[in-house]
């Protein structure tokens, strides 16, 4: 079944794009909100960010640094005030009109009146993609991938928080998106579940090869998962540096205890605390 899921990915147009292509290309991006009480709030200023296809990038930073806003600009839910966002060479809206983008929210954001299977089917049904039979096969395949196939007939309220989040990951992946955006997806989970979910996510990422932008508060989570970690600061929201993770894949759980991991984690923490010590 997991092989089948991989085939669906291969069947999208993404495969035809050249290797080492930029999946995401952000230049000079700023985003300003006007506040209801009057005045403006600069959420992001002067952002430059490039992500190659198939990479796993994390955005870390304190609250209010604009991490979530970044995801919403990349997905086209928000438009930039200035600068450009390109997704595979197109604007996010253009890209989304023909291609898929998966989005995983902090809360699972499932529809409580739909079964687990119904929730995974939801985006494909709304988009009207694939035949009914194909949609069902895909949904079941991705439920296998997140190990929830036996719960396909359950309702969200009958699942644990971790299981619900896995359903929402299956939903984000089921229509073979070219990009997966995750907004603190494990933030509400307990530590054990969180670590399990991290390993599960890495396994799925490895199987699908999907370009992933992952927003988190947790430096160790970011480091454990990512090829690259971008550090952001608030007021105004900006990227102050990034670390390319020098860690082997596949990443084993024991990696979190290795001196190499801890050393890079400390470096990240130092960057977060002292923005002037920027290194790349």
């Amino acid at each position: 079944m997991m092989g089948a899921a991989h085939q669906f990915v291969a069947a999208t147009g993404v495969k035809l794009l050249p290797e080492r292509e930029l999946a995401i290309d952000i230049r000079g991006l700023s985003k300003t909100f006007s506040l209801p009480a009057g005045g403006n709030w600069t959420a992001l200023q002067g952002i430059d960010l490039q992500v190659e296809r198939g990479k796993f990038l994390s955005l870390v930073g304190p609250s209010g640094c604009g991490k979530s806003t970044m995801l919403r600009l990349i997905s086209g839910l928000l438009s930039p005030t200035s600068g450009t966002v390109n997704v595979f060479g197109q604007s996010p809206e253009q890209f989304r009109s023909k291609n898929r983008m998966g989005f995983v929210f902090q809360d699972a954001t499932l529809l409580p009146w739909r079964t687990v299977l119904g929730n995974v089917l939801f985006p494909m049904e709304i988009l009207g993609v694939y035949t009914r039979k194909e949609r069902l096969e895909r949904a079941e395949a991705y439920l296998e991938l997140v190990r929830l196939h036996e719960f396909r007939k359950s309702y969200p309220a009958q699942l644990s928080g971790g299981m619900r989040q896995r359903v929402s990951i299956a939903r984000a992946l089921a229509d073979s998106p070219a990009i997966l955006l995750m907004d603190e997806p494990f933030g509400a989970l307990d530590e054990i579940t969180r670590q399990d979910m991290q390993e599960e996510l890495l396994r799925i990422w490895a199987e699908t090869g999907i370009t992933t932008i992952f927003v988190t508060h947790s430096l160790s989570e970011a480091l454990f998962l990512s090829d690259e970690v971008a550090v952001m600061q608030a007021r105004p929201g900006r990227i102050t540096g990034s670390v390319v993770a020098d860690l082997p894949r596949p990443r084993e759980p024991s990696l979190r205890l290795k001196p190499n991991f801890v050393e890079q984690l400390m470096r990240l923490e130092a960057m977060l605390r002292d923005p002037d010590q920027q290194k790349s």
Partner: protein, 267 residues
């Protein structure tokens, strides 16, 4: 599989279970009736001030066909008004979701309509709509439309920001958002209102009968009042209460059917 005896057994099990759950309220009700019965006798309260439950229930039994024929007329009007009010409320609520201008323009009017006392509007309805069932349906609809509208509209807007973003991400049209998401989100709210409105519809139909009708339980109550027939007055009130309660439970049954997913039902 489902042989008649099987179904019969299931019914009995259910009845036993419901008895087990509800015995405190049943016992309290019975105790209340008992106290009423004996207090009236003990305090020598004359019948024209407060009849005993036994007198009332005997009268209900004696006049069962008269009560039933009048009650059914009232209930048909109440149920028709309930559905009319429901349809108007759902129609307006849907319109409001699609057009903020319509919402801004019409919402104050619905609130004004809400503030009109039913008792004052009922005679006007008789004048405008003539006699017979039409004014009763109109008053019943008027009585229940507002709570349904407010709750339905609130329910349609109750989806989280994230669900809204999810809809944008899958390029859902407004109609798709309504059919696949908002309607479902609104259902628990709507049923909470429908449960309230079931009673309001019956009251509305009865009030309409107070001011202009030849038949119906409201007419029966008014006549009993003029005849200073306290037993009949209570009989009319009690059967209309029973009908209201039954109607309420029909709505509860419909709710159970429609809100099939867990944790959907509100209070």
């Amino acid at each position: 599989m489902n042989t008649p005896s099987h179904l019969h057994n299931r019914f009995l099990t259910r009845a036993a279970l419901s008895l087990q759950e509800n015995w405190p309220s049943i016992a309290l009700f019975a105790l209340g009736l008992l106290i009423w019965q004996y207090a009236v006798a003990f305090l020598q309260i004359p019948q024209y001030l407060l009849p005993t439950p036994s007198e009332i229930f005997l009268r209900i039994w004696k006049e069962r066909w008269l009560l039933w024929s009048n009650l059914s007329i009232t209930m048909i009007a109440a149920i028709a008004g309930f559905f009319l009010g429901f349809l108007i409320a759902v129609g307006l609520g849907t319109l409001f979701v699609f057009s903020r201008t319509a919402a801004r323009a019409l919402m104050p009017w619905t609130i004004i309509i809400r503030t009109i006392p039913i008792l004052a509007i009922a005679p006007l309805m008789t004048i405008w709509l003539g006699f017979g069932i039409a004014p009763k349906i109109a008053v019943a609809a008027l009585a229940c439309f507002f709570p349904i509208l407010i709750n339905f509209y609130r329910g349609l807007g109750s989806i989280s920001r994230e669900i809204g973003e999810l809809l944008s991400l899958v390029n859902a049209s407004r109609v798709q958002g309504l059919i696949h998401v908002r309607i479902f989100a609104a259902m628990p709210f709507t049923f909470a209102a429908l449960k309230i409105s079931s009673g309001l519809a019956v009251v509305g139909a009865i009030v309409a009968e107070f001011t202009g009708a030849n038949l119906g339980i409201g007419t029966l109550i008014v006549t009993a009042g003029y005849q200073q027939d306290a037993v009949m007055l209570f009989a009319g009130i009690i059967v209309s209460c029973i009908a209201s309660v039954l109607f309420y439970y029909v709505v509860v049954a419909a709710e159970k059917l429609c809100l099939y997913w867990p944790e959907a039902r509100m209070g």
